[in-house]
C-alpha cells in the first residue's frame, strides 16, 4: 500500500521534500445512504468504524462528526491506560482493552506511543492497603498483573513524594500495575480514523446530526447539517452529549453531563516515570514525553455543557499535587482545560441496544472513556453487527438499573456528581 507508514516511506519523503505526505483520511461528500452510520467522530466512534470494517466486513459506514476529528474528549483526557478493575463485568472488559492497546500501533500502522510505564496507586491508610490487596487478588485471579508495594518499595520507585512526618496523608504503600501506562491520545483518534478510511469508511467532518428519521418506531436515518442520510443501523458515540443526542430519538437516559478538568505544567526533565494515582483523594499524574506534568482530579460537581472549569477545582487539584509531591509547588501551570463527560448513577458505561430498533448506544463513560477506547469500539462494532451484546459488554446494558445490575466499582451509590 503506497500510503503505508514505514521507515522507507520516511526516508523517501526526507529525500523528496516536495512530495507531500498523503492526507491521513479523505474528506468525502456524504452519500444518501449507508449500512451503518456512527454519530460522533471521537475515539470510540472511529474505533467502532475500524472494527466494523476489520472484524465484521461492514465497510459501507459513515462516521459523522459535528466538528473536526480529535476536537472532543479524545483530545482532552489525561491519556492513562490501565485495567485495575475488580467488579465482574468491568474486569474482563478493561483487560481486553489493555490487550488491544498492546498491539494497537502495529494494528493501525500508526505510532500511538503506547508506553507501559506502570501505574502506582498510593494507599493513604492501612485500610486502603487491605483494600488494594483484595483488588490485586481479584485482578490476578483474572490473569491481570498486580503487585502490592509496601512503603519502602514505594520510596524506591517514587523518591520525590512527601514521606516526612508532616505529610498531610502518610503513604502506607501502593499497588502497581506494570502493564498500565499512557498513550498519545491524538494519535489514537488519527490512527483509528486513517485505518477506517483505508478500509472504505467515510469520515464526514463538520456534519452535525440534528434529528433521527423514524419509521414505525425504527430508526432509519439521520437529519444532518449536510442533509438527510438513511442508514440500516445507527450507533451513537457522543459521550458528553449523549442525553442531548438520544433525546432526538425520544430517549431519556441515566446520564448527567459534568465537566472534568485537566492540567499541564511547564515542561521539566524526566522525573515522574510512572502514572501516579492517590488514595487520599481522586488525583492522578503522569509526565508527558514533552516533559509537562499532566494531572487531574474530580469533576467540578454540577452538571454543565460548558467546557470551562471553575476555579475551586483548580485549587483543590493543585493542593493534591503539592501535598503529594512538594516540588510541584515550584512549577507553573501551563494550560488547563475542561471536557464534558457523561456521568451515570453507578460510574459505569453503556454499550448496548436501545428501546429504539436499529439504534445502538455507546456512552456514559464517566472518567474512564480513553482507556476503554479499543475495547469499546471492538464490542460496540460486535453489538451493531450482530444486533446483540458481546459477552464483554453484556453488563453495560441500558436496563441494568431496572434489573439490579449496577456496576458500582467505587461503592458510591446513585449520585452522578459524586462518582
Amino acid at each position: 500500500m503506497s500510503n503505508r507508514y514505514s521507515a522507507f516511506a520516511l526516508a523517501r519523503h526526507a529525500l523528496q521534500p516536495d512530495l507531500p505526505w498523503p492526507r491521513a483520511w479523505a474528506s468525502p461528500e456524504p452519500k444518501p445512504s449507508y449500512d451503518v452510520v456512527i454519530v460522533g467522530g471521537g475515539g470510540h466512534g472511529l474505533a467502532t468504524a475500524h472494527y466494523l470494517a476489520k472484524n465484521h466486513g461492514i465497510k459501507n459506514v459513515a462516521v459523522l462528526e459535528r466538528s473536526y476529528i480529535g476536537s472532543g474528549n479524545v483530545g482532552r483526557n489525561t491519556t492513562i491506560i490501565r485495567s485495575n478493575y475488580m467488579i465482574g463485568g468491568n474486569t474482563a472488559f478493561f483487560e481486553h482493552s489493555l490487550k488491544l492497546w498492546e498491539g494497537l500501533s502495529h494494528e493501525l500502522n500508526f505510532n500511538c506511543m503506547v508506553s507501559h510505564r506502570g501505574q502506582i496507586v498510593l494507599a493513604a491508610s492501612p485500610g486502603q492497603i487491605d483494600q488494594f490487596a483484595r483488588r490485586g487478588n481479584i485482578m490476578r485471579l483474572n490473569g491481570i498483573d498486580a503487585e502490592l508495594l509496601d512503603r519502602s518499595e514505594v520510596m524506591k520507585l517514587l523518591p520525590y513524594l512527601d514521606y516526612s512526618k508532616d505529610a498531610r496523608f502518610p503513604i502506607w504503600g501502593g499497588i502497581l500495575q506494570k502493564r498500565a501506562g499512557t498513550a498519545r491520545h491524538d494519535a489514537v483518534a488519527w490512527g483509528y480514523g486513517r485505518s477506517a478510511d483505508q478500509q472504505g469508511v467515510h469520515i464526514i467532518e463538520n456534519c452535525e446530526v440534528t434529528g433521527f428519521v423514524m419509521e414505525n418506531g425504527k430508526a432509519v436515518g439521520v437529519e444532518t447539517s449536510r442533509g438527510r442520510i438513511t442508514a440500516g443501523k445507527i450507533g451513537i458515540a457522543v459521550a458528553g452529549h449523549t442525553s442531548h443526542v438520544a433525546k432526538m430519538a425520544g430517549l431519556k437516559l441515566p446520564v448527567e453531563s459534568h465537566i472534568l478538568q485537566a492540567f499541564v505544567t511547564e515542561p521539566i526533565k524526566p522525573v515522574v516515570h510512572h502514572v501516579v494515582s492517590w488514595g487520599a483523594e481522586l488525583f492522578y499524574l503522569s509526565q508527558s514525553d514533552k516533559g509537562g506534568l499532566v494531572f487531574g482530579g474530580h469533576i467540578d460537581g454540577f452538571n454543565t455543557y460548558t467546557q470551562r472549569g471553575q476555579f475551586p477545582q483548580v485549587r483543590t487539584v493543585a493542593e493534591c499535587a503539592v501535598s503529594l509531591m512538594p516540588f510541584v509547588s515550584r512549577l507553573r501551570l501551563l494550560r488547563h482545560w475542561g471536557g464534558i463527560q457523561d456521568m451515570t448513577p453507578d460510574g459505569s458505561p453503556f454499550i448496548c441496544k436501545t428501546p429504539v430498533k436499529n439504534l445502538y448506544l455507546n456512552g456514559g463513560w464517566c472518567y474512564q472513556g480513553f482507556k476503554a477506547t479499543p475495547a469499546s469500539g471492538w464490542t460496540f462494532a460486535h453489538t451493531i453487527a450482530h444486533d446483540d451484546e458481546h459477552e464483554l459488554n453484556r453488563c453495560f446494558s441500558l436496563d441494568r438499573f431496572e434489573k439490579g445490575g449496577e456496576l458500582d466499582e467505587h461503592g458510591l451509590g446513585n449520585w452522578t456528581w459524586k462518582q
Binding site: 442525553s243 431519556k252 437516559l253 441515566p254 448527567e256 453531563s257 452538571n303 455543557y305 448513577p345 449520585w415
Partner: protein, 80 residues
C-alpha cells in the same frame, strides 16, 4: 460562577454544593410499579439549556434552595 443565595445574597460558587434536578417529583408512597421508581430515581432530563436544580449553601447559611441555571453557558437566572 456566582450564585445568589436567597438568604445571604450573591456568593462565590465555592461555598455551595449541587443537589441535583429539582423538577423531579417523588412518586407517592406505594404508587406505580418498579418502572415508576426506576424512572424517578435513575433517569435524568439533563437538558442543554435552562435547568432547575437544588443547591445548598453549605459554607454559609446551610439553606437548601432552587436555582435556575443555563447548563450551556452557566448563566444563573435566579434562585427561590
Amino acid at each position: 460562577m456566582k450564585i445568589p443565595c436567597p438568604h445571604c445574597g450573591l456568593r462565590d460558587y465555592a461555598e455551595f454544593k449541587y443537589g441535583g434536578d429539582a423538577t423531579k417529583s417523588r412518586p407517592a408512597h406505594g404508587e406505580g410499579n418498579l418502572k415508576t421508581w426506576h424512572d424517578y430515581y435513575f433517569l435524568f432530563e439533563n437538558p442543554k439549556g435552562p435547568h432547575r436544580e437544588y443547591w445548598q449553601h453549605v459554607l454559609g447559611c446551610r439553606q437548601w434552595f432552587k436555582l435556575t441555571r443555563n447548563t450551556a453557558t452557566n448563566d444563573v437566572e435566579g434562585a427561590a
